[in-house]
Amino acid sequence: MQLFVANLVVARGGRTIIDDLTFDVAGGEALLLTGRNGAGKTTLIRALAGYLRPIAGSVRLDGFDPERDVREACHYVGHLDANKASLSVMENVAFWQGYLGDGGSGTAAGDALWAALERFGLDALADIPAAYLSAGQKRRLSLCRLLVARRPLWLLDEPSVSLDAASTVLLADVIGEHVAAGGIVIAATHLPLGLGAARELRLGEQVAMS
């Protein structure tokens, strides 16, 4: 599995934010996106997930079912948590599991769900409406999506925001395992994530201003 990004150009509001960017990431590799505010990290991630249509260039994912769209290979965890305040922790995760996953059999799916909740320390809160969670718990609830539906390409936009130290270590572990299993992780961040071997792509240096 390998992600190729070639000569990517992305504009927002008439301004070119990403100008002729080329890089690739192999399976089993994590890439950190860094750069000052406004450098284009979020823009790049949203372009990779297919939310923004690039002006030029291509994004190609080798080793994934060529019949299917690249977006079906992606997990996206951004600033917004995509969970419903009036559903319980469990109901939220179960919905995304069914919706994003391949809809596997009942008991296996149930086990995976509980494993994810336990991993992120939410099992005690399973029946509580998401509205009552603290910011850090909400963030962990979003991260649960990564574990309940298996997808090779993880696109994370500042995933460690509002996590405490222990949870940040946990996140690094989860990312490490995914990479070790041959997956790809691309994460935008201002803070160190504690990933030993990750490659770094510094945005903003090459961008021509106005």
Partner: protein, 222 residues
Amino acid sequence: MSGFMRLLRRDLLLAWREGGALGTALGFYLVVVALMPLGLGPDLNLLSRIASGILWVALLLAALLSLPRIFETDADDGALDVMALGTLPLELVAGAKSLAHWISTGIPLAIMAPVLGVLLNLEVRAYPLLFATMLAGTPAISFLGAIGAALTIRARRGGLLLALLVLPLYVPTLIFGITAINAALLSPDGFAASFLILSAISLVSVVLGPIAAAAALRTQME
């Protein structure tokens, strides 16, 4: 269970949990219908003559105001972004959400309409007709409305703009809905033709609405 059914179930569950949604739509319907006689004067003959028209127009307005609910909260909390990554095409996402809107708003409003007919002195034999035409016509309201809801997710003052965008789309539904009832009250066989056209409009909307709404959602995400 398919993604479509899951999404439908979730939206219905949310409409139920976040309570009030339905109650408020029904309450608004009640208030608008009650305002009309205040505006038009208490002459019961006059009221009963225009009752079906008023009930239809007020239903349109009540449904209209609940349209933003279709996509707005999911867009605000990022759920729509994640939904776009699913295997379910965005057209079906829009379809499931419109269907949920119809079930949770359109049907209750249609059921409520004959009840409100009492306030307007509606002829008793018009009750079943009113209910039937509304049941046939309200899908168009939800599915066409979804287009407007998708277009205005990120607009300031979405509500007003939404109204302006979709009200013209509702005109055919409104005309044939009322024609059907009036035809039936005058001659027993005049009903079928208008009712069929009304159903046809709804069917076309059920197909066209989600396609157009999905297109709007795609541009919205950028």
